[in-house]
Assembly symmetry: C2
């Protein structure tokens, strides 16, 4: 074994070493683009799995299992001889030294592809995070699922009507795609999926409030589609409030410029910022902490350092390339090609993002989308969304299982993954007084 | 709402109140047995879901999703008008006062069915728990899955061959059904399911060691089946060591009476004890902390307090009724009938456990079983095991999904749920020195 490893090493040493940080859409496509080529590739991620982020809200709302939308990066790249996968957290990049510093070691590179994506932004109010979790990872999704399901359990335990109302009020902050998806799914859970399961209250009378600081939901879509999305959300029972800026978040509700809303469950879909690793590059970032890259997606002064996907700030025709999965995938493919071109002595062509359209789902048979000049909404948009999202799932098994889960949910309003795992006490007892729930039987029996 | 609740309350007050603690096999059957009767039922569990425990080891070994084998108790009992489900932790029973004390309230009962099951026993060495997790809940299963998958990741990061050997050595303590299942599944993961995914070592050369203090594995089975189980385990590559008592467990291995075994992953399947709630009853317990009940499964001096399932110590024909799912289910049905008989003024017949046989699975196409006088092993026993376990899953959707997952695993050796969620650092850095793994590229590149 040792001898063999050394043999491989000797041969491998001669090859340029490409390090990819991040196993999301961009990182995986970059690795695939370099598979079988004459470079040696190391993909580093702090998690062992790739996540199909567009369906993450479905894990958060108990429709899908984590494993339905996540796949081990190792398995995705299994059998690719020149790509190694390492579990590790990169803490900083030494651009001058061409070295990545990990928490317990370092990795040298000849080419670097940074694809660590974005994280939540609370616009300077990081203290809000504890009371308004965002949605970026499987862990985030499970935390949101736990809070949502526990809120209904707490409502069943609560005898005081006012406090019960707080448990059955859900506030989603941010009217972008994530906020819209979460609000729509929450409304469906409350209105349809929990019927006949609670004795002390009617879950269908829960409130779901979507707060958007700007004048319309889905602001990156055209105005007609924003209006349709709002109508469809309201049809599902969501209370959509635009021009409503949140100025405070507490365990028992949010404060907006228009007043306070008492709610025990607040979810955050309002802002994103570039992953903190960007700050260690020593190059200019935009206001959202994303790395401003050139036409070949590299940073100023270091043509061997690529930044792709949500972490990159790149403009095309005067408009920013959006932080969506297709842009990340195209960036990954581009970076792989650009590296191979440089190694072959060819010039790099500039990156060109091809916008194939966008779709945002709202709920059962409700969605909006624009594909070229075509604007879709309602059932047609929703069916297109389902098809495209199933098709792009990373493996065939996931596709089959997700279709089954969706079919079952559509037919029976029965969510497949309504498990509360992890601690129960911290939510139920978050505010010992006055909001602390007590078992209802005490009240009933006096 | 309030008025309606009061109306229901007035009527309900007149009915006897049966409280069931625990939503496992016994508790669910008791609730179903009382559904639609003239009693009012409250089922209390500290988790929101029923777990199909016989398949828990498959979640621990990444073959199934948590949601495949767990179902919200509320959903199972949905629409049953006289059964309420409450999320709560019962801390003690006041038998004289007929009151349950919860962490933040109390519940009065007329009849009580205690079905809280068993927990791990470390035979007085509770300090071993941190380094040798047991398997009783979904959380336990996810923790074991995390440790097993992280061990392979750590091996890939480790340059020192001796330490890598420690990461690829798995010790399972206890040769009962759980230990045998875990050891068999671990051997399959290492030998088949991770092929071509690691570059620095060959997972197939991992060691799985099963330690049993007594003279044979599966000691509740007949000697011929124990021998067959041992042979089948060895065929899968498990190192089975009987007559080997563990006298110490540390983060870097176990110590037996025969010597030390260096291993970074130790799993515990050795012993169980009754849930701590039993101690609050003030009645005699057996050596394993189980409640010694009479022929009608009630405790001495309190014919309204039933104890069923793994928490009950009951003999039949001089032999203890085993702590298995069928016995718990029969106990739950019996308690429901006994309460209804008493309310109807009829005498209770004594509980009678009907042994329909038992099956233990070992691995792919490997199992043993005894059904009456019939002894099965190998493929036939395994096929019977699969059929019976799929059939008894709580809902139809789970049956379909589990069959799909199993079919896929059988055909492609591809485990569906290989996600590492939760903290990564604590395992990888559990022993900073000398066992701390470092990213291999540092070593490779000097």
């Amino acid at each position: 074994m040792a001898g063999q490893a050394h043999g491989v090493k000797g041969e491998a040493e001669a090859r340029p070493h490409v390090v990819i940080v991040g196993g999301g859409f961009g990182g995986i496509q970059a690795a695939k683009g370099l598979a079988g080529s004459r470079v040696r590739v190391t993909l580093v991620d702090r998690r062992n799995h790739h996540v199909f982020q567009p369906l993450l809200y479905q894990v958060a709302t108990a429709a899908l299992n984590p494993a339905n939308i996540a796949s081990p990066i190792r398995r995705i790249l299994r059998g690719v001889g020149n790509v190694e996968v390492l579990l590790g957290e990169v803490e900083s990049v030494d651009v001058a030294g061409k070295v990545l510093r990990l928490d317990d070691g370092e990795i040298r590179y000849d080419y670097l592809i940074l694809a660590t994506g974005a994280t939540h932004s609370y616009f300077g109010h990081d203290g809000w995070a504890a009371d308004a979790p965002g949605l970026k990872s499987i862990e985030d999704a499970l935390e949101i699922r736990r809070r949502v399901l526990l809120a209904f359990e707490a409502a069943e335990l609560e005898a005081d009507p006012r406090r019960r109302r707080e448990w059955t009020t859900f506030v989603v902050v941010g009217g972008g795609p994530t906020g819209v998806e979460l609000a729509g799914a929450l409304a469906e859970i409350a209105r349809h999926d929990l019927v006949h399961e609670f004795h002390k209250f009617n879950p269908a009378r829960s409130r779901v409030i979507l707060l958007e600081a700007g004048p319309r939901v889905l602001p990156t879509y055209t105005e007609d589609l924003s209006a349709k999305a709002k109508t469809q959300l309201e049809g599902l029972g969501v209370d959509v409030r635009v021009d409503t800026k949140v100025i405070g978040v507490e365990a028992d509700g949010v404060t907006t410029e228009q007043g306070a809303i008492a709610a025990r469950t607040v979810l955050w879909g309002a802002g994103v910022q570039g992953s903190p690793l960007a700050r260690t590059l020593g190059v200019p970032l935009d206001r959202s902490g994303r790395v401003v890259v050139g036409p070949d997606l590299t940073i100023p002064g270091a043509p061997e350092v690529f930044v792709i996907g949500d972490l990159a700030a790149v403009e095309q025709g005067g408009k920013p390339v959006p932080g969506v999965a297709p842009a990340a995938m195209q960036g990954g493919k581009y970076a792989a090609k650009a590296i191979l071109a440089t190694l072959a002595g060819r010039r790099r062509k500039p990156f060109r993002y091809v916008d194939k359209g966008s779709l945002a789902t709202i709920g059962r048979a409700a969605a909006v989308g624009e594909i070229g000049k075509l604007h879709l909404s309602g059932f047609v948009a929703w069916a297109a969304w389902c098809l495209i999202h199933v098709f792009f799932l990373i493996d065939f098994r996931s596709r089959v299982l997700v279709m089954l889960e969706w079919g079952w949910l559509y037919l029976f309003h029965d969510r497949g993954s309504r498990l509360i795992t992890g601690p129960v006490e911290d939510i139920l007892e978050r505010n010992p007084e006055p909001g602390r729930p007590r078992p209802a039987p005490v009240q009933v029996e006096g």
